[in-house]
């Protein structure tokens, strides 16, 4: 820990007090200038593995770790303004492919990821909610040591969407474009973000969601300035505008209710099954999907056991060695895909497995997706 703000009484954050100008229990909000964000990231990356939305050579954006060298050049392709990246930050917390252990001549060597400090900077609200969901899943029942080690020291910095992408519906799922700031001690950390940044033109207004977030500001206080009343007003207007920019509205609550009460007819799934090519793309890029396969690879007597993402829409997902397949029919896989998210996740955790990011529709080659299904079942 570099500068703990307890030992260095900082100008920010300040405890909330009478006549406060901002919202939340923690602090009078502060701001960070946009042209200082890159420097903040470079400085913070001395202590943190910093992951940022980064535009690759093919113009696709995904979360990539700041390299050790040429960080300034690298950050030229930082992508904070565009909507949620099509490839979700799930790749950081639950990689598409990871090794569980290596073996050689019958000896096993564990490959548990080290619990390095990870700064995920530039997450969208929906993705913060998704990470919260996935955290909860990997802790439930058996604790998954690979996931938990990788993610136990993470700081989530949300940058709310200014112009939400066309396909998202986060105002209907109540997962964005911004998350509520804690207003009482009981609410601290509940929403999942540590810091939330609101674009107010030349700078971001910074809101604090947790103790960890507060500590981060204290440690890098040189980058933060006190927010003015006007900044706060601007941020409020900005949040409102962003909310209004989410034009896709669906009746999510009714959909959940219909799913929980088993009101979805087989015909709806069969109609989807006629179109869907069962490529699984929607599930790979879904920020809450966690299914995986375990497999071995070896050369001679050396090799490893690994896991990689799998998807319940694949025909082989439930096919047993005997050939018996309880989900041989396509529509059953479609029903599994949607019911898991909208019914069973909700019934077991109180959280729905859909956070309204719209990625499934955006990626689907045949124009299917969660919002379409929901429109269909709430007609």
């Amino acid at each position: 820990m570099k500068k703990l703000h307890n030992s260095h009484p900082p100008p920010y954050p300040l405890p909330s007090r009478e006549g406060k100008i901002g919202e939340g229990v923690f602090v009078i909000p502060c701001t960070v200038k946009k042209d200082r964000v890159k420097d903040l990231l470079i400085t913070a990356s001395e202590e943190w593995d910093a992951f940022v939305p980064w535009k690759g050579p093919e113009e696709d954006v995904q979360f990539v770790k700041l390299p050790d060298e040429k960080r300034k050049n690298f950050l030229d392709r930082l992508s904070l303004e565009d909507g949620a990246p099509l490839i979700p930050p799930k790749t950081v917390i639950f990689p598409q492919l990871e090794s569980l252990f290596e073996f050689e001549e019958g000896k096993i060597k564990e490959m548990i990821p080290s619990p390095t400090k990870k700064l995920l900077f530039g997450l969208r609200a929906c993705d913060v909610k998704a990470i919260l969901f996935v955290d909860d899943f990997f802790k439930r029942n058996f604790e998954d040591i690979y996931y938990l080690n990788r993610t136990m020291n993470k700081l989530l910095v949300l940058v709310g969407c200014k112009t939400p992408p066309r396909d998202c519906f986060c105002t209907s799922t109540k997962t964005g474009p911004f998350l509520p700031v804690p207003r009482s001690l009981g609410e601290v950390g509940k929403e999942g973000f540590d810091l939330q940044l609101v674009d107010i033109g030349k700078k971001y207004l910074v809101e604090v969601g947790s103790e960890k977030g507060k500590e981060f500001i204290g440690n890098y206080q040189d980058f933060f300035e006190e927010a003015s009343k006007k900044d706060v007003e601007l941020s409020k207007a900005m949040k409102k505008k962003a909310e209004e920019a989410v034009t896709l509205k669906i009746d999510f609550e009714k959909a959940i209710k219909n799913f929980c009460e088993d009101k979805i007819s087989q015909i709806i799934y069969e109609k989807i099954a006629e179109r869907c090519i069962y490529c699984g793309g929607c599930l790979y890029i879904c920020p809450t999907c966690t299914c995986f396969n375990i497999f071995d690879g070896k050369k001679g007597d050396r090799g490893k056991r690994s896991r990689n993402w799998d998807a319940c829409v694949f025909e082989g997902y439930t096919r047993e060695a005997s050939g018996h397949n309880p989900r041989a029919e396509k529509w059953l896989r479609t029903s599994r895909r949607y019911e898991h998210k909208l019914k069973y996740n909700y019934l077991t955790t109180g959280m729905s497995g859909c956070v309204g990011c719209g990625r499934c529709l955006a990626t689907c080659p045949v124009n299917l997706g969660m919002s379409k299904l929901i429109q269909e079942v709430t007609k």
């Binding site: 998954d144 799998d310 319940c312 309880p326 989900r327 059953l332 019914k343």
Partner: protein, 278 residues
């Protein structure tokens, strides 16, 4: 935090051939401490692997009442299970677990027990059966109904003879196709209903076998007055992790690997019918 994905080497102590494609392996953990402390319950399974060949869920067929004995009966079905069946005494397997729930014997003390198995469904039930026989006085009547495709495919041929000799115990065998030496019943398991009285009023049934067999057996059990909550069924689903994580064994809101594999018929009825549970 324990690394549940890490398997532990276990040495094959002996191999018993059951049929042309099935063998029973008696194994012991290489790590002596683990071998001593290892515990399990009847009905549980383990993930068994060969490094580089993958893993498969296999029921423990031995009984916790017989300390120091850990056995698996494995049918060669695919890549891994075929490779395991090529192994010799002294070779090493890799195990993790035990996983899943179990057949609870506490709740069924004093009651009549009916075991109905088809094919490779007997190994998990054998774990319960031997646990019961090791405390024979604690239970009422025991009836074992067991069917296989051919006489050769009946597992535990010697042990079946031992079971038959226990007091107040009936063993009924059947095969789908007989050979020239077979003198017993021919037909599916449910044809054994004609050979013995099946009184389900106060009795418990434990069932394991292929889905189609289970479906017909449950029908028959209900006709014989077994209560839905007294019919215990061990389900099989494609599995990868055994930990409620990989998602493959999901049925509705349940994971067969951690909420099961043993479910009562009343629990199974709560699962979505379209999932073809039975």
């Amino acid at each position: 935090m324990k690394n549940e994905y890490l398997p532990h080497p276990a040495r094959i102590e002996s191999i018993q051939r059951e049929s042309f494609d099935t063998q029973t392996f008696k194994v012991i953990f290489v790590d002596e401490k683990l071998a001593k402390s290892f515990n399990y319950k009847p009905g549980q399974f383990m993930e068994i692997s060969l490094l580089g060949m993958g893993e498969a869920p296999i029921s423990i067929t031995s009984s916790p009442s017989r300390k120091g004995c850990l056995e698996f009966t494995i049918r060669a079905m695919g890549k891994l299970t075929r490779a395991i069946n090529q192994l010799k005494r002294g070779n090493v397997l890799y195990l993790r677990g035990p996983y899943g729930n179990s057949f609870s014997l506490e709740e069924v003390k004093g009651k009549d027990l009916y075991f109905i198995a088809g094919g490779i469904g007997l190994p998990p039930l054998r774990s319960v059966i031997n646990t019961v026989f090791d405390k024979r006085e604690n239970f009422g009547k025991v009836k074992i109904l067991y069917g296989a495709k051919t006489p050769d495919e009946l597992c535990f041929k010697e042990e079946l003879k031992v079971w038959q000799k226990f007091p107040n115990t009936e063993l009924l065998l059947t095969v789908d196709t007989q050979d020239k030496d077979w003198k017993g019943n021919v037909g599916v398991v449910t044809t054994l209903w004609e050979k013995t009285a099946m009184d389900g009023n106060q009795a418990i049934a434990c069932v394991c076998g292929p889905p189609i067999m289970i479906r017909f057996v449950v029908q028959k059990l209900l006709e014989s007055q077994f209560k839905e909550k007294n019919i215990h069924i061990s389900l099989e689903r494609y599995m990868k992790c055994g930990l409620g994580k990989c998602g493959h064994c999901n049925i509705g809101g349940k994971f067969v690997c951690i909420d099961g594999p043993v479910f009562t018929y009343s629990q199974i009825k709560e699962l979505p019918a379209k999932e073809h549970v039975l």
